[in-house]
């Protein structure tokens, strides 16, 4: 974990409102684990004040011929423009400076299952790619990818290139199957008992995934979002209620340090705040 004063390599629109940004990040290829995230300081003024957390989509090396840069390791993030900070991020260009703190948090704990099922909702797909890259080495990996409409379906071909079987569903049927990603998951859980599940997406989707997995006794890990100030466990702003939490005997976990990936049974699902989706509409999904 380190704070880098670094610069942007590229910033491209993937689908309307979704962007992919590559940032120079020395050392990330060796250190970043699937499920970890970075805190990005946007601009070098005080607007916005706080850094923004983004999952690590992947790390890599720039092709040798393409840049005369001294260091060629990069980190890639995918982001959705939802507010002031991401709007400023969208306007940055190659060569612009950013500060990057990371890699942060605990990543996924890779299960030795023969069937690995990844469930992504919209931008929640992000932390699953590095995970898939690892899991394909040891088992069969399926990605169930859901979104409201086809614009929310991202980077699926990149998963396919890893050898992952992908199943796309959209609420409006504009891409893939019409329906919820959890409908697809239900079928897969029935078909593959013993599968390990890894999910990231809006809270209502995660809740539904959790319910399905408990019903099927499938081991589930989820990656959560929370409002964050420090990203390193110092402010206690990002906590979620842990299993056994009660008013009388409260139990909080730090999303930034003890998460963002949790085993499903670590969390007090009935008391998780619906909280942090970028858009009220997403609550109606899943």
């Amino acid at each position: 974990m380190q704070n880098f004063h670094t610069s942007i390599i590229s910033n491209l629109e993937l689908s309307p409102g979704y962007f992919r940004m590559r940032i120079l990040a020395p050392g990330f290829v060796a250190t970043a684990k699937p499920g970890q995230f970075v805190m990005v300081r946007i601009g070098n003024g005080l607007e916005p004040l706080l850094r923004r957390p983004f999952g690590i989509f992947r790390t890599g090396f720039l092709p040798a011929d393409c840049q005369g840069l001294p260091d060629k390791e990069y980190v890639e993030i995918l982001y959705k423009v939802v507010g002031s900070g991401t709007a400023l991020l969208r306007d940055l260009h190659r060569g612009d400076r950013v500060e990057l703190l990371g890699p942060l948090g605990n990543g996924f704990d890779m299960q030795p299952a023969a069937e690995q099922i990844l469930v992504g909702g919209g931008i929640g797909l992000v932390p699953l790619y590095m995970l898939a890259r690892q899991l394909v080495k040891t088992g069969r990996v399926r990605l169930l990818m859901g979104g409201r409409c086809r614009d929310d379906i991202l980077a699926v071909t990149e998963f396919e290139r890893l050898g992952v079987a992908t199943y796309v569903s959209t609420d409006d049927g504009s891409l893939g199957e019409e329906g919820l990603v959890t409908d697809v998951l239900r079928r897969k859980l029935e078909k593959f008992p013993g599968a390990a599940i890894y999910a990231c997406g809006p809270m209502p989707m995660l809740r539904a995934v959790h319910d399905l997995c408990s019903a099927h006794r499938a081991p589930l890990q989820v990656s959560l979002e929370a409002f964050m100030a420090c990203g390193v466990g110092a402010c206690l702003g990002c906590v979620v209620k842990g299993a056994g939490h009660s008013e009388a005997d409260p139990h909080y976990l730090c999303t930034c340090k003890e998460g963002p990936v949790f085993r499903s049974e670590q969390l007090e699902w009935d008391k998780l705040e619906a909280g942090h989706e970028d858009c009220g509409c997403e609550e109606e999904r899943a």
């Binding site: 005080l46 706080l50 466990g233 110092a234 206690l236």
Partner: protein, 314 residues
């Protein structure tokens, strides 16, 4: 004043003294923004700091408030952590060993949920040789019972400070809330009751609304406003307090860079604390220390103590 002055070759002195405690420089974290130190150790050597100030501790572990606990505002942030902390026992067992590696003095920030707890905490902290000084928080706006009344009423504040004083043989810093009509009354009250130093300010009580959902952005409804937005209020209060008490004052509120820290020092703060800025830049504090040194050099100042209280009022 002359920017073309020959740059002084010697390293300017940055050491300051607060209530008998010698700090190698006047920069330390603000309680609650630096965890128990360990969280920021990856970013710089904690021995670069004047002191380390811990998250506020209580006798028993405290769970804090429901979430969301933080919200960003223009040049500031609201927090309603609710003083979540591991409690003094776990602190001693799990956090103190880490802090013991450093030579930098450790200041433990603490509070109680009742008068008895304040007294008991004072006793516990007195027994710890690793604790260089204690910072008494009588001003947290997020705790409903206890704390808040102490922080805004001079008699109640004096009562808790006297009690703590009786049980505490270490330097006692008392931290004040800005949410009062006249901070100098509070400052004089706690000075008379035995404070060795005063730290101000804690956060200003604020609130923010999610206008799409029409709901408060903090589960706790209100929270404490910190960050650059509050700096002018903090500088004013520190100035007022410096004018009205004899004990040293530690300035805190919205400091992000050496210039900000200097505002506090110039109006008379003997040291400064950096809070929210740690989140913005984990290396903010070493940067401020370096900036103070630069300032002394360009201003031809040999010792930072010449800067402290040097405000020219015409």
């Amino acid at each position: 004043m002359n920017e073309n002055a020959p740059v002084c070759g010697r390293k300017p002195g940055l050491a300051v003294e607060i209530a008998g405690l010698r700090l190698k420089n006047p920069v330390m974290p603000a309680s609650g923004t630096f965890g128990y130190g360990q969280e920021y150790a990856p970013f710089f050597d904690l021995d670069e700091l004047g002191a380390i100030v811990t998250k506020g501790l209580s006798l028993h572990p405290k769970a804090g408030n429901p979430t969301p606990r933080i919200a960003e505002t223009t040049s500031g942030m609201l927090n309603a952590i609710g003083l979540q902390n591991v409690g003094v026992d776990v602190f001693i067992r799990e956090k103190m060993p880490f802090l013991r590696q450093f030579r930098t003095p450790v200041i433990v920030n603490f509070f109680g949920n009742s008068l008895e707890e304040y007294g008991e905490m004072a006793r516990r902290l007195s027994d710890l040789p690793e604790v260089a000084a204690a910072e008494l928080n009588i001003s947290c706006p997020n705790v409903k019972k206890g704390g808040i009344v102490f922080g805004t009423d001079p008699l109640a504040a004096a009562e808790v400070v006297s009690l703590v004083r009786r049980h505490m043989d270490k330097p006692l810093i008392v931290k004040l809330t800005p949410n009062v009509t006249d901070i100098t009354i509070m400052a004089r009250a706690v000075e008379e009751a035995g404070a060795d130093a005063i730290c101000c300010i804690n956060t200003l009580t604020g609130m923010a609304v999610d206008v799409r959902r029409r709901s408060p952005r903090l589960a706790n409804l209100t929270g404490g406003l910190s960050g650059p937005a509050i700096r002018p209020v903090a500088v004013r209060m520190v100035y007022q307090v410096v004018q009205s008490v004899k004990v040293p004052v530690i300035g805190v509120g919205g400091i992000t860079c050496a210039e900000d820290a200097l505002e506090f020092l110039i109006v008379g703060a003997r040291a400064v604390q950096v809070g929210t800025a740690n989140f913005v830049d984990p290396r903010a504090m070493p940067g401020i220390v370096a900036g103070l040194e630069d300032y002394c050099r360009t201003q031809g100042v040999d010792d930072i103590n010449e800067v402290i209280g040097s405000l020219r009022v015409s």
